[in-house]
Amino acid sequence: MTSTMVPTDPRLFRLPEGDETRPHLLGSYAPESELYFWPRRLRCPVTRTAVHDVVLSAQGVLFAWTFLHVPRMGNISFGDTGGYGVGQIDLPEGVRVQTPLLGTTDDWQIGTAMGLTTFPVGQDDDGNELVTFRFEAVR
């Protein structure tokens, strides 16, 4: 049986489609306020007007980061690295995303170009590979 990647939460992001190499976060756009949001909103939190769904850019810029020295994130072990990176990424739409980071502390500086990638977190009951997302430095 071939394993298929399945998003842990398809409301938050989708996997690459067609020629795409990166997954995309799924957000909202409010025409009246001209603001983008992630995750999707029911209405614009500023003007309380209608929003519609948008696919957000797969690349952004590192706004802030740290390395968290804890051995686990939920059921994921980081025993080999002693922890994991966490960052805030500014997407071109004006959305700031808080996310785990892939790589080492040498890879991250404020202003570094970052791209979205998948993050395996286990299998579902059908044997599919469950993935969430994280960002990595774009080389």
Partner: protein
């Protein structure tokens, strides 16, 4: 628009059970704090007209169950939960119950043992979703790294704030962390790194504890003050976040920093004073970058000038405007339910001039600030009258 009180409200009694990591049952600690507050006020529980119990970890209605130990008097008992600001919100509800004329006397009681608290985030009990598992240590560390980038703050400055609070707690019998020596910047920096640039001695102490405060109308306060100075609550303000540039909706522990600036502005307006009128401040110093940023957001100094305050020792006991005089979240400790009420306890002692070796000279006005996940910000101003 700041909220208002229709009549004056006074703190007539405060009580605590020491914050600790000894596994004392939260219910027993709550009883001690509540009884101490009643004794301090010089009243019996039947005179309390409403009780607001701040508690995070005990499940549905846990705060209401606790009230049964004080007496089945039939008063309204409300379980309050608002993350780290739970105790502050319980106090605010008590203040507004009296200030709005609902009751003459109200009690706020906070208690918790964070070691028995379940996980947080949407993934609790389920397979992990990495997007929603962000620990406060990581969130506030990103405040710190960004601050270092923008202002040039050093790890030594963060360590200096933490060391100050550890040393303030040395003389506080209710503090969880009481060092037997003068804590140094080097010692804080050398402790275990938990989330760059924050080390374990910079992180708030997690454990258990309880604290209580009783508030009353002017008529009751005058009757029970027994010659002691009366402590008036001149501002009680609470806010949630507003949209700001770079707003983080998912994973942010608390909302934008602007929330504190806005809540403080409301409190200053209600109290009819400004930051220059404060004699001491209790703050949500879960990590030292918070205290540093809040110096500026509360208007104690200009934006970017907080580092200078630390270097000058202005926020230490004996300085111009002491912060976290009881050790703060860093060292007094931070069980969710009682922390905000421990701030009221400390500020009341200071304004009565009963704080012993921690006493801020001639203290007459104190501000208490708490932030909580979700997010929430609460600011109270207390004044000696």
């Amino acid at each position: 628009m700041p909220s208002k009180l229709a009549r004056d409200v006074y703190v007539i009694g405060v009580g605590m059970h020491a914050f600790n990591n000894n596994g004392v049952a939260a219910a027993l600690m709550a009883d001690v704090a509540g009884v101490n507050a009643l004794d301090d006020a010089g009243i019996e529980f039947p005179e309390v007209g409403a009780l607001f119990n701040g508690h995070l970890g005990g499940g549905m209605g846990a705060g209401v169950h606790i009230a049964k130990e004080f007496g089945l008097t039939g008063i309204p008992v409300t379980h309050v939960e608002n993350a780290s600001a739970t105790g502050s919100c319980a106090f605010g509800e008590a203040v507004h119950a009296v200030g709005g004329g609902r009751v003459e006397v109200a009690m706020a009681l906070g208690f918790d043992d964070m070691n028995k608290l379940g996980g947080i985030g949407r993934s609790r009990g389920k397979r992990v979703g990495a997007e929603d598992v962000m620990l406060p240590a990581a969130f506030f560390a990103m405040w710190a790294t960004r601050r270092m980038h923008e202002v040039g703050t050093t790890a030594e400055t963060f360590a200096a704030i933490a060391a100050k609070n550890w040393n303030h707690a040395r003389e506080n019998p209710y503090a969880q962390r009481r060092a037997d020596h003068d804590v140094t910047i080097d010692e804080v920096l050398a402790s275990t790194m938990i989330s760059y640039p924050h080390t374990s001695m910079m992180a708030c102490a997690s454990g258990g504890g309880a604290a209580a405060a009783i508030v009353a109308s002017k008529e009751v306060a005058e009757r029970v003050c027994n010659g002691r100075p009366m402590i008036r609550v001149t501002a009680s303000q609470q806010r949630s976040e507003t949209y700001t540039e770079g707003h983080v909706f998912l994973g942010a522990v608390i909302g934008p920093a602007q929330m504190t600036r806005d809540t403080a502005a409301d409190a200053y307006e209600q109290a009819g004073l400004g930051p220059d009128d404060l004699d001491l401040v209790q703050i949500h110093d879960a990590f030292p970058v918070e205290e540093l940023v809040y110096y500026e957001l509360l208007g104690i100094c200009g934006d970017g000038d907080g580092d200078r305050l630390v270097a000058e020792g202005a926020t230490s006991l004996g300085g111009r405007i002491p912060f976290s005089t009881d050790g703060g979240l860093t060292a007094r400790g931070h069980p969710g339910g009682p922390t905000g009420l421990a701030q009221i306890h400390e500020t009341t002692l200071q304004l009565r001039h009963e704080a012993g070796v921690r006493q801020v000279e001639d203290a007459s006005t104190g501000l208490c600030h708490m932030a909580g996940a979700g997010s929430v910000c609460v600011v109270h101003v207390l004044q000696r009258t």
